[in-house]
Amino acid sequence: MSSLRILVSFKVTPDFEALREADWLAGAEDDAAEDAAHGVETRYVRRVLNCFDESALEMALRLADARAQRGSATSLGALSVGGKETEPYLKTLLALGYERAARVEPEAALDFAPAVVASLIAGYVRQVDHSDLLLLGCRSGPGDSGTVPFLLAEALGWPCLTQVLEVEPLPDDRVRVACLVDDGLRRVTLRLPCVLAVGNAVVSQLRVPTLTDRLARKHAPIDVLSGADLGVDIAGDLRRETCVLTGLETIDRARRGVIVGGATPAAKAHALFAAHLKDLVEKL
């Protein structure tokens, strides 16, 4: 029976939804704000899983479940480039059946350093995990370069598919992958290894372990590595990064509304059609 090694790389991010507009405005005005990464003070909001990574983590579990039904074994690992704030998430993943959990201490703010992040993940795959399949979100909130999966695939010399929406198991450790492309959905059969960058998938929520599951894996270890452990000079590589935050500005997303008048619902519907819909319909 073959055992497929899957690694999911994830990021824990500030919950930007919990920030008020005033926090963003203050960040835009004050370049000297304490958070060197992007001017906006995010220390005070709770942390959440990057939503695309959350999809990737659940998709890996479902892939393992589907392979188990076919009698194929799968070994799941989870990695985060992040500080201690990632450990509660790694413990959750261990309780959910991930066998390996590791984090790489970032040593510096890496939100605008996708090449450094990619080297750390690639170093972990090559030197520690020896995974066959790597899943991660196609983008994340802070920094949001969307380039880590590509840089990672290049560093590993693996193919990379982006905007992945579904992954299904096939015999012989191949996988069938559905990706969103410009003109529709493309289904591809892949031999491994490869990097899959998960997009806006229907599967967006990570399952939740029971207290019993947590207790059973309470003592499972979390490996903590440094850049040096993986042969990466984080400080040196950071100096070579080319992306620098120079400022922030507000995007006006306010919606304009029009109140349609009329004495009856029918009159309002006529007015709406005549003033706003008729031209659109005629263009169809």
Binding site: R20, D23, Y44, V45
Partner: protein, 480 residues
């Protein structure tokens, strides 16, 4: 001879016209439950009797006519406004029920800044009223998490409480006067005066009646000056709830009046505060508000009291302020939560009780210990105290479980009701009240006699006196 479903609809149409009687099957099915059986709506699997109709109340006179019709023909009616109930109060427990929907009675009738009171129809969303009075530098002082979605009539009917209750009180402390319609169509108005000693306070027949006695059409609530610029937040981490309750009590009995006073256990703190609290930390927090001098003195006084508990380690106030500003549940959060449940079958439920300072920690510990052992598939069992008084506090049990091996429609029987049962048993055994602010609904009605003891006589007599034909929200507060 009870009316047929068709006759009920025809009778209502004669009163209000066909356009205000909703008979769309999908809407009726969705309206057969509230958040108590929310999984039935999330998964579209329904087991409750489908209401005969929803009738829109557009005036007090119309409500009177509808109730006269219902009383005459023995039709069960379910009053509702914002439809945000959590305890089954809006469930159609009887066949061919009629929902009287007050959400279209949504006019703010009067804001009296001189006498510091505002009068609103039952369907005015609290958020709308609050936004309007804030333009005048005032506040209702009422801020439940449901503020963006709940309406004034429902808030009064369920004896709601808000996040600033420790300063402003519950809705019962805010209601000045009101208008309500009783079965048979009797319209009653309780006048707006600062206080009176002209016999029993009859407002309390209406406040908290949960639609089991009458339909609330209009309420007048107090207004307060609003000083958001002086809001001051304080927070600490600590290692056990016994110390947390002791610190809360020390603040409450010291003469200080925080508007928010809370303590979270490690499980619940893990959901809200994991960015600054360790996994085994409890979190104690306060908010002081009011005129600058009072807010400052209150905050300093609270800090001095908590300093007497060296186990409590202070945290930066910005952590508490940022969290607090994102606490209310708007429609987008509700939709996101439903989607989370749909995908994971992991369900979050809450049950709130109250007790004096001597008993609250024992209730918390006893209920939590039993639930973890007796209920399967629990993923988080925790809670917090969020409303404190001179003589005690509440406990808001917050728990999550996976729905395993049963359909979504069986979630209440397999998990939710057994958990509620444990919490009610332990609370009653240790002398607390089984409902702090969500209302009895139908979920906790089975425990009503134990909750009331010998005073159940008063409750039962009220029900018989005002609703002799038993048409008002059958099964709510008093079981069928």
């Amino acid at each position: 001879m009870p009316l047929t479903r068709e006759s009920i609809v025809e009778g209502l149409q004669r009163i209000v016209g066909p356009e205000d009687v909703i008979t769309d099957e999908h809407i009726l099915v969705q309206s057969s439950v509230d958040n108590f059986r929310k999984l039935q709506n999330i998964f579209d699997v329904h087991t409750m009797p489908v209401p005969a109709a929803i009738v829109m109340a557009r005036s007090t006179a119309r409500v009177a006519e509808i109730l006269r019709f219902a009383d005459e023909h023995g039709v069960n009616v379910i009053p509702r406004t914002g439809a945000t109930a959590t305890e089954g109060g809006l469930e159609s427990a009887a066949p061919d029920s009629v929902i009287i929907d007050g959400s279209a009675m949504n006019e703010i009738l009067h804001i009296d800044a001189y006498n510091m009171q505002a009068t609103a129809q039952c369907g005015v969303p609290l958020q709308v009223l609050e936004d309007r009075v804030r333009e005048l530098g005032l506040t209702t002082g009422h801020s439940p998490q449901s503020k963006p979605v709940a309406h004034m009539g429902g808030l009064v009917a369920t004896r709601s409480i808000g996040q600033f209750s420790t300063l402003y009180g519950g809705i019962e402390d805010m209601v000045v006067g009101l208008e309500a319609v009783f079965p048979g169509g009797q319209v009653t108005r309780i006048k707006n005066v600062p206080r009176r000693a002209a016999g029993p306070d009859i407002r309390h027949v209406v406040v908290g009646n949960e639609g089991a006695l009458c339909f609330i059409t209009e309420v007048t609530v107090k207004l307060f000056p609003y000083f958001p610029e002086n809001n001051t937040f304080l927070g600490w981490t600590l290692k056990d709830m016994a110390t947390g309750f002791a610190a809360l009590r020390a603040v409450m009995v010291s003469g200080h009046k925080p508007s928010v006073a809370r303590v979270y256990d490690p499980g619940d703190a893990g959901i809200h505060f994991s960015h600054f609290a360790a996994p085994d930390d409890c979190v104690l927090l306060f908010m002081a508000e009011g005129p600058a001098g009072i807010a400052k003195a209150t905050a300093e006084g609270i800090a001095a009291v908590v300093a007497g508990f060296p186990e409590c380690k202070p945290v930066e106030s910005a952590y508490i302020e940022t969290w607090f500003n994102d606490l209310c549940w708007d429609a987008s959060k509700i939709i996101a939560e439903d989607e989370r449940i749909r995908q994971t079958r992991n369900v979050n439920r809450t049950t709130e009780i109250s007790a004096d300072w001597s008993s609250i920690n024992d209730i918390y510990q006893a209920a939590k210990a039993r639930i973890i052992v007796e209920i399967p598939d629990i993923t988080m069992m925790g809670g917090h105290s969020s409303h404190s008084y001179i003589n005690g506090t509440n406990m808001y049990f917050n728990y999550f479980f996976n729905v395993v091996d049963v359909g979504p429609e069986e979630e209440t029987d397999k998990y939710y009701l057994p958990i509620i049962g444990i919490i009610c048993e332990e609370t009653l055994r240790l002398g607390g009240s089984i409902v702090h602010h969500h209302g009895m609904g139908k979920a906790r009605a089975p425990w009503v006699k134990d909750e009331y003891g010998s005073s159940y006589y008063i409750l039962e007599t009220l029900k018989h006196a005002f609703d002799p034909n038993g048409i008002m929200n059958k099964g709510t507060i008093i079981p069928k």
